[in-house]
Amino acid sequence: MRSKNLQKICLFIGFVLALQSYAQNAQVVGEIKDQEQQPIPGVTVLIKGTQKGTISDFDGKFTLVLPDAENDVLVFSFIGYKSQEVKVASQTNLQIVLEEDSESLEEVVIVGYGTQKKENLTGATSQIEAKDIALRPSADISTALQGLLPGLNIQVNSGDPSATPDINIRGFNSINGGSPLVLVDGIVGDITRVNPQDIKSVTVLKDAASAAIYGARGAFGVILITTKTGASGEMQVSYTNNFAWTTTTTRTDYISDPYVYGKTIDAAIFGYNGTSFTGYNDNDWETIQGVANGTIEPFHQEQPNGTNKFFYKTDWYEHLFKKWQPSQNHNISISGGSDKLHGYLSGRVYNRETINNVQDGELERNNLKTTLTFKPNTWLELSNNVLFNREQSKEYGGYRSGYGGIWSTTTWYDLAAFYPSEIDGIPADIGRSGNGGQGGHAAMAAAGNYRAFNTEEFTNTFRVKVTPTKDLELNFDYSNRITNTANSYRLNEFEYISSSRLNLQTAGLNRLTEYRWRNYYKAMNVFGSYTKQVADNHNFKLLLGYNQEDYEEDNVLAEQGGLLIRDESNLSFGTELLRADGSAQLWAVQGFFGRFNYDYKNKYLLEVNARYDGSSRFPEDSRWGFFPSISAGWQLNKEEFWDPLSATVNTVKLRASYGELGNQSIGVNTFQSLMGMGQSSWLDGGDRLNYVSAPGPLPRTVSWETTKSLDFGIDLGFFKNRLNASFDWYEKNVEGMYLPGTPLPAVFGASEPKENLASLRNRGFELSLNYRNNFSLGGSPLSLSASATLSNFKGIITKYENPEGLMSSYWEGQELGVIYGYHIDGQFQSDEEALAYQNSFANPSSDLSQVYRYILNIVQNSEWNKLRAGDIKYVDTDGDGKIDKGNYTLDDHGDLQPIGNAMPKFPFGFNINAAWKGIDLSIAGAGVGKQNWYPTGDIYWGPYQRPYLTLVRKDLVDQAWTSDSPGQYPQIYRGYSSLGAGRSLYEMNDHYLQNIGYLRIKNLTLGYTIPEKLTAKFNIDRLRFYVSGENILTWRFGDLTKYVDPEQAGSAINYSSPGSAVGRANLRSYPMGKTWSMGLNISL
C-alpha cells in the first residue's frame, strides 16, 4: 500500500514538471515604489493566469520575460499594499507605484459580539484564518489547530476517529474541571461537529478582558469559530475530496513466534504460582520450535485424558487489526448571489473504516449547512443559518457474557500465539490454560454483537441586523438546537470452539439495549453598538446586550432480552423486559453585558467590559454575579519619537488587562435536598429493586467560582510587518473553587458539604512568531510564510482546606501534575545482592510490603517468593528501615519524593507554507518539550501486567534481566507479582518514569495547482491536486518504546479534570493514526 502511494506521488511530480516546460521570449523591466517614492523590495510580479513571475530586488527593480507581451497582464502584490494589475501591451519599462492598503492595516479580529481592528486590540487574542489551515485535509478542525495558536492546548487521546480531543486554554482552570466555551457563529457548539471546510476563521480569547463579555461562561477561555456565509457576486462552486489510508503510529509487531511466546508466558506464570501455562514438556518445546520455523505444519494433539495440546503459529495482531483503515471525505460548497440576497450552501460526506479486522466497523459523518442573507434595504439585514450534522458509527465486539470492544475482549485475554484462531473454519478460543476463552474474536466474526451510535443535530439560527444610522448597529439572534442521540447495544449468541477439550459451545447473551437522548437548547442574544468620533481624535464605541439560554435534556433507556429474530435489532422482538428507565436535566442562564471602547488617535486604547450573569444552578440569593474587566494598550509606533525606528520596528504595542470571570460549571440542583431514584443491583426474584436514596448534605454556600486574570502583552512588527512577534505573560487566580469543605470525621457519613473555598494560581507565557516574505527562485516568485508558537504554564494550589496535609487530597503550594515516587538504585545484579538487601530489613514482609507486596507473599513458589537478580532496588531514603509512604502526609511521606511532573511543559508548534510556480508545500509540526509519564497498561508492561496477555511487545522481553544483559526490567518470571498496587513495578518510581516529550510532523501537504490558463478552457477557476501525510514523523525526546505513542501516553491527563494530572493512561484504546492521503480541490 505504501509503495503504491509513492508511485502516485512520483507520477504527480512528473506531471508538474511537464507543465512547466514551455516558454517564449519578450522582456520587460520595471521599478516599484511606494507613495513616498521609496523602492519596495520583495514585491511579487506575476503574469496573470499563470504561476510565472518574479520578485523585485533590493532597489525595487525587476526583469521578466513574457510569453505573450501583447496580451499579458502583470499583477503586483505585496503585503500591506493594494495589489495592482498592469497591462503590459508594448511597454518595456514599467514604473509602478503601489498604494498602501489601509484595509490590511485595518485587519479585523473577531471578538465577543462583534469585531475589533487588530491594531486596536487590547486583550490576549489569537486568530487564525481559514487559508492557513485549509491546505490540510483534516476531517476534524480541532486536530488541525494543534500547535497553531499559542496557549490553545489540544490533547489528542486516541486514534479513534469518533473521539473528542481535550481542549484547554492556558492551563487547568479549576479543580472542578471545565473546558473552553466554543461558539460557532455566536452559538454554543461542538467543535468536532464543525465541517472544517466551512470555517472562515478561528479566534481564541484567552484573557479575562477578551472573555469577560461572556461572563460566567468564559472562565476557561473562549473559542470563536466563524463560518462562511457567502458573499454577493459570481456564483462559486468548489469541490474538495480526500482519499486517505490510516495506519498506526506505533510498532505493532508483537511476539508471534509461538516458541518465544510460550516461553515468555510460562516464565511469567511460573514466577507467580509455580505452574506452567503451556503444559509443554521437552518434546513439545521441540515441536513448537519446528512450527515456529516452519518445518512442522501447525496441529493439535489429543492427550489420554481427552484434552489437547496445541502447536500453532498465530499472529493475533494481524488477525484482529487492520493494517490500513481507508477513509474518504467529499465536500461541496456553493456561494454567491446578489446584493439583496446571497447565500452559502455546503455539504460533506465523510466515512472511515475502523481498525477492526475481524468485522468491518464504520464511521460516517454528514454535514449540511445553508446560510441565506437578505438585504431588503440599506439598513436591514436578515439571515438564517441552518446546520445539520449526522454521525453514525458501528463497532463490533462482544464476548461470552456481554459486550466488550476489541480492546477488552481480545488483547487483554489469553489469545496465545500457539493457539489456533480457528479450527475447521470455526473460530477457536482455547482460553487460559485450556479452561475456555472469552470468545471475543468469535463474537466479532459472528457479527451479532455490536454497538451502533447515531447522533443527529439540527441547529437553526435566525439573525436580524439593523443599521439605522452609520454609527448605530442593532442585532438580534435566536437559535434552536435539537440533538437526538440513539445508541444501541445488540448482543447475540454465537458459536465457537473453546477449551482444550475443543467443546463447540454457544455463548453470549441475546439482548438489545437502547439509549435515547433528546436535547433542546435555545439561545437568544440582543445587542447593539454605537460608535462615535468626537473632535476627530477621540473614538468611542459602546456595546450593550442581553443573552439567555436554556437547556432541556430527556433520556430514556430500555432493554429487552430473548429477542426472537437474530438479525433484527428492535425492541419489539424482545420477550423479556430487562430494564426501562429515564432521567432528565434542565438548566438556564441569563446575562446582561456591555463593552466600552475608547481610543485617542488609535494610540491610547482603553476597553472596559462587564457582564451581569444569572444561572439556575445557584439558589436564588446567590444566583447573580457581576464580572468586570478592563484593558488598555499603547501603540508606541504611532508616537513621533518612534519615527527613527519605524523602518525596522514598525509596530510596537503594549497591552495590559485585568478582569474577573465566573465559572458556573457545577452540577445542577446541588442546593436542594433531593432524593435520587435508581434501580438497585439487589434483585428480588430476578427483578431489580427500585430505590430512592437519601439526599446528600446540603452545601453551606453555592456560588460562582471566580477567575481573576492579569495579562501583559507586547506585539512587535518588523520590516513592514514581514516579521511579527507577540508575547504574553499572564497570571490567573481561580478563587472560590467549589469543593468539599473542611474535612469531617468519617462518622459524618457523607462527603463534606461543598463550599466555595479553594484557590488555584496559573502563571504562564505565550510567544508567537510569524514571518512572511517572497523570494525569487529559479526565475519564479517563492512566497514563504512561517510561524512558530511556544507557551508554558504552571499551576499552583494557593488555598485548600487540608490542615492535616493529606497527600491523598490537594494541598497549598502543590504544583499541579507533580508526581511523588520512590527512588530506585538500579536493579539487583545477583540473587545474593537481592537477598542481602531483603535481609537488611528487620521484618521484610511488612517493612517492604508497600512495594514488594506480592513478591514476598507468594505462597506457592519458594523459588520466587524473595527478591532476586533483576528486581529493582527501592531506596530507603528516609532511613527508617522501611520502604513506605509514611502517613502519606506532607509532614511524613516516608520515602516518597517529587520525581517529575505529568503536565505537558513547553508545548510548541510551527507551521511553514511555501508556494512556488503553482506548487504549494505546507508543513505543520507540534510537540511538547517535556512531560513525565509513569508507564501503565498492558501494551507497555506486557506479561508483568498479566502473564497471559495476547499482545506482548518484543522490546520488553529483550530488555528483561538476564545474567548476560542486565536490561531494564526484572526477569520475566516476575510476571503477575509485580504490577498492581503495592507491587514493585506499579508504585511510581524514578527508574521507569519516562519523558514523553516529542516533536511530531502533524502534517505535510504538497499540492499543485494547474495554471489557470489551462483550466480556464474547461471553465475551471482553480484545480489543485495534493498529497498529504498526517502524523508522519515523530521524534521522542525520551527513550519511550516505539510501541507507545508519546502523544497518546499523555492522554491520562484530562484537561477538564486536573485531578487526573497524575492519572495513568493504560493505553488500551484505539492507537494513534498516521494517515496518507490524496485528493483534489476544484473551484468553478
Binding site: Y272, R400, A588, Q590, D684, L689, A746, F748, V859
Partner: protein, 576 residues
C-alpha cells in the same frame, strides 16, 4: 431612520418578555425534594430498598480465604498478622455512610399515616441499623452510637466512643423492634421477621461467646438470647434442611444452584445472567486468582463415615490422597474435589489438577457449572437455617444447659442430611477429641468441653467458606489458631501417584527434573518450588512462613489515622 423607534420597540418588547423572574427556576424533573416524600407505604418501600446493597454478595464466599480454613496464593495480611493502620478517613471498615442513610429514613418515615407500613419498614430500617452496628462492634469493639443524621456543625461528630454495653444494647433493641414489627412472611430476597430472628441469633451468639471468652460481663443474657432466637426460628416451622439429591449431593447442590429457594435459605442475594453477575466462578478457577486450597487440619477434622474420628485412625497423618478420601463424612467430597470429581452438570470426570490450588485440596463447594467460570450468576446465601441449628446447640452448650435432646433437634438434623451417625453428648464429653482440643486452647475444661469441641467441629465443617470462620476465631479468643501450620496433601516420597485409582498416574512429584513423568500425568510438583515438610516427603507446605496473631491487638481492627487526627476524643484500638 424613521424605522428606528419602531425597531427599538420590538427589541425592547422581546427583551422584556424574556426577563420573567421564573426563567432561572429549573426544578429537577427526575428527582424528588425530600420534603415532598415519605407520604405512602410505597415511598417507605422504595426508601428501604436502598439499604439492601449493604448486605454482602460474593464476599460471603471469599471471607474464609482470609482465615485458617483456606490457604490463598498470596497470603493475606489478616492471617499473616501484617494488617496496617489505614490512612484515609472512612477506610478500612470505618465507613459510616450507610448509617446516615438509615438514620435519615428513621427521622422521616413517621410522616406516613399507614401504621402497618410504618411497622414493617421501620422494622426493616432497624434491622439494617442492627446489621450495620454489629459489623462495627465486631471490627472495632467500642464505637460511637448515633441515632440521628449529623450536621456538619454537630458536636457529636467529635465525641468519644460509646461503651460496648451501650452499643450492643442499642443493637439488641433495634433487632428486637424488627422482630416484633415485621410481619411473619417468608421471602427469599427480602428482610423478614425470620431474617431478623436469624440475625439476632448470630449477633447474640457472637456477643455472648465473645464476652465469655474475653472476660466481659454479661455474656449469659446474650447466650440466652441466641438460644431463644434460634429456637423461635426452629419452632416457627418456616424452614427445614435442603435434602434434594440425598446424602451424597444435597449439601453441594444447595450452594451452586442458579436459583435459591426458601426451603433452607432464609436470605439469598439473587443473581441473574442478564442483570447481575459476580466473579466467584472466576475466582475459584483462574490459576492466578483462585489457587484456594482447603487447609489440611480441616480435611482431617471430617469424621469417618461411621462417626469415628479420622484423626484417631492409625497412620492418618501419612495417608495418601485416595485413601484419605474414602469412607468419610460425605460433606468432605462435597466441599473439596474428591477422586471422582465432576463439574456440576457434567458427567466426565475432571483430570486431576493441583496447579490451581495451594494445598492440593481444591474447593468445590459453591463451584458453579463451567459456563459460569467467567461471569457467574448463581445465588449467594447470606443466611441459612443450618446456622440457626448450630447456634442453638452452641449457645446451650456454652450456657451449660445443653441436653441430648437439644442436639437431636439441631446438630443431629445436619448429620441426618448426610447420613452421618448422631452426635452423642455424653460420649463427646467423656472423650474430648485431642485433635480439636489442640486447635482450641481456650475452651474451659468443664463438663461440656467435649461437646463444645464437637459443636465447633460441626460448625467449621458445615459452614466452611460461608464467611463466618474469622469471626468464630475472634469470639472464641482463638486468634493464635492461625499460627498453627496450614498444610496440604501428604506425599510419602518423590515419584508418580495415582489420585483416582484408575491405574494411571496423575501426579508426579520431582525435585527439578520432570522428565521421568509417566504418560497421563496431569500435575507436576517440583519440591524445590512447592516445598514438602520433610524435603522429599511430607505435606505440601505452601505457607511455610505461617500466620501470626498478636493477642494484644489483633482481635480488633485499627481506626484510620485521619479520623484520629480529626477527632481528638477518638482513641486508637489498643496497641495499633
Amino acid at each position: 431612520m424613521k424605522h428606528l423607534p419602531f425597531l427599538c420597540l420590538i427589541i425592547f418588547t422581546l427583551f422584556l418578555s424574556s426577563c420573567d423572574d421564573d426563567f432561572l427556576e429549573r426544578p429537577p424533573k427526575d428527582q424528588v425534594d425530600a420534603q415532598f416524600f415519605f407520604n405512602t407505604a410505597k415511598d417507605l418501600e422504595v426508601a428501604t430498598n436502598a439499604f439492601y446493597t449493604m448486605l454482602p454478595g460474593k464476599e460471603v464466599y471469599t471471607d474464609d480465604s482470609s482465615s485458617d480454613n483456606v490457604v490463598t496464593l498470596i497470603a493475606t495480611d489478616r492471617v499473616k498478622g501484617t494488617r496496617s493502620v489505614p490512612t484515609q478517613r472512612g477506610s478500612g471498615g470505618w465507613s459510616w455512610s450507610n448509617l446516615r442513610d438509615i438514620n435519615f429514613f428513621l427521622e422521616n418515615y413517621t410522616k406516613v399515616e399507614d401504621e402497618d407500613a410504618k411497622k414493617l419498614y421501620g422494622g426493616i430500617a432497624r434491622f439494617f441499623r442492627a446489621y450495620f452496628y454489629f459489623d462495627k462492634v465486631k471490627n472495632f469493639g467500642d464505637v460511637p452510637w448515633y441515632s440521628k443524621v449529623l450536621d456538619a456543625g454537630d458536636e457529636d461528630l467529635y465525641k468519644a466512643r460509646d461503651s460496648r454495653e451501650l452499643v450492643m444494647d442499642s443493637i439488641m433493641a433495634d433487632i428486637n423492634y424488627a422482630i416484633e414489627n415485621i410481619p411473619e412472611e417468608v421471602a427469599l430476597n427480602r428482610v423478614t421477621k425470620y431474617t431478623a430472628l436469624m440475625l439476632k441469633a448470630r449477633i447474640a451468639l457472637f456477643e455472648g461467646t465473645f464476652r465469655k471468652y474475653h472476660n466481659i460481663a454479661g455474656h449469659a443474657a446474650f447466650l440466652e438470647d441466641a438460644a431463644e432466637a434460634s429456637e423461635a426460628l426452629m419452632n416457627s416451622g418456616a424452614y427445614t434442611l435442603y435434602t434434594t439429591g440425598g446424602a451424597q449431593a444435597a449439601y453441594r447442590n444447595l450452594f451452586s444452584r442458579n436459583d435459591q429457594d426458601a426451603i433452607e435459605t432464609i436470605l439469598a442475594r439473587d443473581f441473574d445472567r442478564e442483570k447481575e453477575t459476580h466473579n466467584l466462578g472466576y475466582l475459584m478457577t483462574a490459576p492466578t486468582q483462585g489457587a484456594y486450597g482447603v487447609a489440611k487440619d480441616l480435611i482431617n477434622s471430617y469424621l469417618n463415615a461411621d462417626g469415628s474420628r479420622f484423626t484417631d485412625t492409625p497412620g492418618y497423618a501419612t495417608m495418601g490422597y485416595y485413601q484419605e478420601m474414602q469412607q468419610r463424612d460425605p460433606r468432605l467430597v462435597q466441599t473439596t474435589a474428591g477422586p471422582a470429581f465432576t463439574v456440576n452438570g457434567e458427567s466426565e470426570e475432571e483430570p486431576v489438577t493441583l496447579n490451581g490450588t495451594t494445598t492440593g485440596y481444591r474447593i468445590v463447594k459453591a463451584l458453579p457449572t463451567r459456563d459460569q467460570w467467567n461471569a457467574a450468576y448463581y445465588d449467594v446465601i447470606i443466611f441459612r437455617y443450618a446456622e440457626a441449628l448450630l447456634i442453638y446447640a452452641e449457645a446451650k452448650a456454652e450456657l451449660g444447659t445443653l441436653a441430648q435432646a437439644d442436639l437431636d433437634i439441631s446438630i443431629n438434623r445436619l448429620r441426618d442430611r448426610v447420613n452421618m451417625p448422631h452426635l452423642n453428648m455424653s460420649d463427646a464429653n467423656a472423650h474430648p477429641d485431642p485433635y480439636q482440643e489442640a486447635m482450641y486452647a481456650n475452651v474451659e475444661s468443664g463438663t461440656n468441653k467435649g461437646v463444645i469441641l464437637e459443636i465447633r467441629r460441626e460448625r467449621r465443617i458445615e459452614l466452611f467458606n460461608e464467611g463466618l470462620r474469622w469471626d468464630d476465631l475472634m469470639r472464641w479468643k482463638e486468634g493464635k489458631k492461625v499460627e498453627k501450620p496450614m498444610l496440604g496433601l501428604y506425599f510419602p516420597s518423590l515419584g508418580a501417584f495415582d489420585f483416582n485409582n484408575d491405574g494411571i498416574a496423575d501426579v508426579y512429584v520431582h525435585d527439578g527434573d520432570a522428565s521421568g513423568a509417566p504418560i497421563g500425568v496431569t500435575s507436576l510438583i517440583n519440591v524445590q518450588q512447592r516445598t514438602l515438610t520433610n524435603g522429599n516427603s511430607g505435606n505440601l507446605n505452601p505457607f511455610s512462613e505461617g500466620g501470626s496473631f498478636d493477642e494484644s491487638k489483633d482481635y480488633y481492627y485499627p481506626i484510620p489515622l485521619e479520623d484520629l487526627a480529626l477527632n481528638s476524643n477518638l482513641n486508637q484500638n489498643p496497641n495499633w
